[in-house]
Subunit: 488 residues, 4 copies
């Protein structure tokens, strides 16, 4: 069918009937639920981009399988330039719409293209054929995919097979002729409530005794036995001035329960090959950590713009310290993006030719985001001032008795209306001082794995031994002349 | 009458009828409004402390005027130990109740005790007598005071008398035989909606041409012409598990409009003596920046406890990196407190003998809070994980169909119930990922003045010249022997 | 003649007789002076690389003028890949030899290729032809170039023509038929004492009244009137174990005085065209700040290797906190390199097709180096321990009476000799706790301009207005629909 | 005899004949050796202070044993005020003379006063009587003491009794009727080469099997079998302009070898009581980490003064960014001091009434120094500029041919001579860009134990359980009402 419109995407959501619960109630029609509406808008923008004259080229790609024009979100990276375009596309979307949720599925597709290929090379399992067929279907139908990785994990000091309750990681409970049955639950699954399909993959490297936990597959979101309990960033009350961002755009996560879910064999991409789980997790993590170089600078574009606008409306934009803080905001954000550009430029092909970004730089991207995004909040608050939280509500501002007072007293720079100033502060509040801020901080910290996971990967991926050889030559422990022949 | 009980405090609030607007509606009875109820609880705890066996001694003091036992919140500091007790008391209260709102009024009283005294010394104005009488009344009635400092400021690049709209700073519009009339508005006034009285003081140093803006006075909150437009941290929906902190305790700020408000002479403490405004602002700032050494470590006590509890419930509390992050949290918090202890220990008496904490250390306290509190958020998120924002809601958790799944899959450490774990995460979310977090970040950044204001004060209060003399002696520009006689 | 050997380079130095003073004495033969010997070794390695099987390809390039194989250090960047190779080459050299001093001249050549071209486009001056002829000569003779930018500046609050002493910036004092005469002095000129030629360029943007200061040219180091007063990182006493790095490799700077120096017209590339000075300075700054992404990660390679070796020899390399600190060292260093890779990847051609790296990322590179290199020192000291400074000297270690004691008591890990451990500590000391450390810190801070200069460039090169437009759309000040058409 | 003069102190050094080796040669007369002369000056200043009208009161105390006026450096702290005076005294000395070396011995005396007392309480050993007699002698003779704690440790992953070579920690090799014989070596012992006595104490908590390593005693520096191999910060060449600080003042460390040294019983304070070693180490560490709140702010006073002087001489002292950086320098330094003041104010008596500073704040002091002092270097380099390392040498400056050029071109601000400017830069270089800088960085990092040791102590000394109880009450896991009764 080709590239869906936003309308067709929404229609596709309406036609599936997944079991979704939000705030204690089952959702009848997910396209109409107030908590999901902004989330659908955010994902919907990815479909709009594919038809938009300015963004079309960036938002689409040529399928390496069919040569058809497809959504870039369902494309397998064929070059370093494809990796760079991933950053450009996600940054372009995110600055308008926050998290657009489709990266996780995209990263899962690219990961599986490699891992299914490698399992087949070793075991002739046919997973790669399953994957290619699935990919063609996804590309043709232009589906929105979620990916469920993070298991609930139970006692974190125990590995899957050692847990008291064996269901703390998703696992195979039965193999049938026509497919497998899985049980377990996945936590914090982004975008799944507004997707068409869920790709499920293991969340950690498994040992042989965990092999029932080494399972990867894809299913429609309304597959029987799948239950989602979700929450979104949508405000309880939509505002025109209040919560301007969250009223329009949204992010979501759900707890996804797999209550003995059946998966047909042609949707299975791994089933017990535990020795490939480490590779799968590492490749997925690299892709997903890399993607933070697109979406977080995108969010920062908006936050920096808001900070600069507050400075203008407070008439302090020429103050030296304000300019320093804006500069600091830019440095943090652009350092992240630059590390992403480097990861793209130094990416390498794996498996069937799928490009993977550089591991070291991708992990630096994510670790920097996880620890530095909080400083962006500090700076916008510092620049903006107390009104970031104390600006009277939209209803107060519009109250006939209060409006004259508030228009008078909330004016800053003479040629800017109080309303504009209030709107700018409300945007700052919405982004940095309510639920969206909490979401943004936590997703920056833990999305794509915890900062510890990034540190560990960085430590492991760096070859300290060759640096030690260098030090030996330079200190006289080895002959200096050897230094030029060292592998570096 | 002596020390009020919490019940008497609430009753006193009921008897006054101030004009308060919240979310577009006028508040009928402030003691019953859901947005104010938690705020009253937080202030109410200060009254409970005064009767509590464990905290009574800390929460009360002997009046230096009457020798009666009074609330420490209405006490004039008579010693370094009084300064230290301020920190101990506010830390003790804050760790349970968040902002208890009474520090600002307390700081205003102490400031006025010095400034009114000094104006009188120069001009024989009688302000100090006004002040002493007012103080006796406040101590006797055990009143809750707010202080309104921050004007709306209009164009921040212009000083009061230069503004296009002359009302952008509160000022005297008329002097009558029996009193004065004032106009203007004050922004982000903490606790004013749940106080008995407002003390109004200028927000910056004034020039002679700004002298109509050099005005300080105290009035009951229900004085005609006073209009408050407020907001609080209370959640829209009170929860048992969700929002456990905000459902019980609260902070508030209001925009306070002075629409030609009459103030009788005996409530006036400054009226045109512009040359004392700089002193007033600096002393108040020192007191209030100092107070952050009590309340922010108090909040951190709770945040650290929550982080440690999450670590326990996730069964990762023995992981090295978790212990490091907890240690970092402690270092940040206790550095702030230690700088406060130093400011108390090196405080000096001014005016009639009122003790003022050390300027340099008080400003370091506040600047550290303003820039480092964000790191505490990073660490608790890092320790806790994604569930800080993605834990299903209380209503989902209690839904009969979902409960069995969620009890099973939300368990962490084997011997801790899922409910306990959910409660701990809900507390973390409530404190660090919603509106309370926004409030805490912004108040930490801008309460008591912006970080820039602290930097400026630190720069000005440090004697660089004597350090340069030292460098001259040590570099041979001056004889080395002179170094021992340098003033240091 | 083609690519010189290291021997031929040294011979070329011997044949010139520049006026060099070091530590109060005039240098007779610069190739034999103990303070210069290590510096010549460092530059000499660039010549060795051009003949070394492993590095030859990286260290040479094809001249875009003559198609001859030339030293990459005299090459004009023709592509993004050339920019990346600049980083790879300087990193490869620096990790062995510290500063190799040729980047500054290289950056000057590339800068002049653009600026001379642009001046000619406007004024038909013939500078570009002068430049091309000079470049061919430099490439053919494989000359080592220094570049003198930083004037002594006198009172920094005054611009060149406003100084009391007009010579505080190098300027034209006379124009003759056959050339010009210049006067002034340049400070901290790297590598000039061991170079063949000096390229002189203005250090800041000039106004019309400063036009005599708008002068660029190239001259041999032994041109009459040129006097250098220098210092190097060489230790006063060469060691086998002590100061192992500085005894072998060195960096140097000199104060270069131009006492009415004559420059023939064919060596002049700018002479009064003040309106091109801003462009010249910005392009040079971009090139040179970019180059820190090569040399400082190169130095960090060695410092990280030394830290890792100390950890091994102390038998603590498996301690969690040691691994964290090593990881931090890697993150700092590789973030710098990654920003450099991004700057190379996003570079653009200017003037006659010369590639210039991205301004924003090049400045982030340098600012990060300037502020973060100090943390690398902290970490290696933290990892190594007190022996970084307290290890007994080589002479003590070799003293017959002391040797048995020291061999016994300086052993760490059982299978590592005390001598090896001492050597590793001596390398750490040499790099991070003596004069080389001071040089490395200060050059990291101020080379290529101060951190303030980088901040200013970042602020100016970032388009805040388009971000503000974004914020306006998202806050409702402008229609949301407009956001998709915004220039971003 | 009472308080020695500096002359008497030097004379006392001359009368002892310890075995000292420096740079491969045995030192004949330690009072005349160029490497020791500046070190003796620094310690000598402590003796001068005791007679100086301005500092006498601070530098002396009344002995609690004899009521005589003694050097404060040999005083047992009797109050919180004594603790505060320790900071004031060390800060006052350090800002002139750098490390004055006597704190370690002072801390050892205070530690032993408690530990010997406690051992006696348990075992009636008589150590406390030994200690009191020794203390009286030290006070009366006004001796300069060093303390040797840090053993060489061999393989750091093994504890004393488990080492392959049993001598890697100092231990008892023989007990005789009249005393004990010890063997081993101690590393990085500050000031020992210019002291009269060495106090030796264990460096870590011992197990029962390590009990031969649980030994504490005091001996004269010239006791047979004691061999020192040392190094100092003195420059190889004393300068008038160059190295102005190190030419006058110095710090030193030595490797101290105990080659079967005999110690009479009356000088023994612990001999096998392994269960008291943990306590000894913790108390000593607290004292010594606390002392960094005096000496490092003292050094920063000088570094800040130098930075401010450079700013003045460069005529940039009014630039906003320069003032910010100076402010940052002050904040870092004064935060350390403030934490020290808090540690003093919250100190408590132990054992026989000896005051010990607060453990938590003392450790925060040291950890802050260890990680933040490097930022002070960054800032002074940033403020000063490249001349911090590239200023021509004193000999160049005084060279008759060069002097006119350098006087002309090294002028900054018009009314400041080039010589003054050069002197200021030379001081900056001396303090922050040569061997003294290396010493200062490493001693800040590792003196009093590594940053890891401080982190561990902070973690252990903080009661996380009571904070967790707080979180339980606030989240509803325990009744909210219980919170008021919690131990906090």
């Amino acid at each position: 069918m080709g590239l869906k419109t936003k309308f067709e995407y929404i229609d596709s959501l309406r036609r599936q009937k997944p079991a979704i619960y939000i705030y204690g109630e089952q959702v009848e029609d997910r396209t109409k639920h107030p908590a999901l509406r902004p989330v659908i808008e955010s994902v919907g923008l990815t479909y709009e981009f594919a038809h938009h004259p300015k963004y079309r080229e960036l938002a689409t790609a040529k399928s390496h399988l069919t040569s058809e024009v497809i959504s870039r979100f369902n494309h397998i990276h064929q070059s370093n330039d494809d990796l760079l375009k991933k950053l450009q596309l996600t940054r372009a979307l995110t600055r308008f719409a926050g998290c657009v949720a489709r990266c996780v599925g995209w990263d899962a597709l690219n990961t599986l293209s490699i891992v299914a290929y490698e399992i087949d090379r070793k075991y002739k399992t046919g997973y790669y054929e399953n994957f290619v067929n699935y990919l063609k279907y996804v590309q043709k139908e232009d589906l929105a995919l979620a990916c469920a990785m993070t298991d609930v994990k139970g006692d974190r000091s125990l590995r899957p097979a050692d847990q008291q309750d064996k269901d703390m990681y998703v696992h195979i409970v039965e193999k049938r002729e026509n497919g497998i049955v899985v049980r377990g639950a996945k936590a914090h699954i982004s975008g799944v409530m507004v997707s068409n399909e869920i790709i499920v993959m293991p969340t950690r490297a498994m040992r042989e005794k965990d092999k029932d936990y080494a399972v990867a597959f894809a299913i429609p979101v309304d597959t029987p036995g799948v239950i989602m309990v979700g929450r979104t960033t949508a405000p309880r009350e939509v505002g025109k001035m209040d919560a301007p961002f969250r009223s329009k755009w949204g992010a979501s996560e759900a707890f996804v329960i797999f209550d003995d879910v059946f998966v047909p064999w042609d949707r299975v991409f791994m089933c017990g090959e535990w020795e490939f789980t480490g590779m799968l997790v590492e490749i997925f993590a690299t892709y997903h950590r890399f993607s933070y170089a697109g979406c977080k600078p995108g969010m920062c574009d908006l936050i920096i713009g808001t900070a600069a606008l507050l400075a203008e409306y407070n008439n302090v934009e020429h103050a030296d310290h304000i300019q320093r803080k804006l500069t600091d905001m830019v440095m943090t954000s652009e350092t992240v993006y630059a590390c992403g550009v480097a990861a793209a430029a130094q990416g390498k092909p794996m498996g069937p030719g799928t490009y993977v970004p550089d591991v070291l730089y991708s992990n630096i991207v994510k670790h920097t985001v996880a620890t530095k995004i909080y400083e962006e909040f500090q700076r916008i608050h510092d620049i903006g001032g107390g009104l970031v939280v104390t600006t009277p509500s939209e209803k107060d501002f519009n109250h006939p008795k209060l409006r004259p007072y508030l228009e008078k007293y909330l004016k800053g720079k003479v040629d800017v209306s109080a309303e504009y100033r209030v709107r700018a502060f409300k945007l700052a509040e919405d982004l940095t001082a309510h639920g969206f801020a909490g979401w943004l901080m936590v997703v920056s910290c833990h999305g794509g794995g915890s900062p510890e996971a990034q540190r560990l990967t960085i430590f492991r991926s760096y070859n300290f031994n060759k640096r030690k050889e260098l030090a030996k030559c330079m200190s006289g422990i080895k002959p200096l002349e050897e230094c030029l022949t060292l592998e570096m």
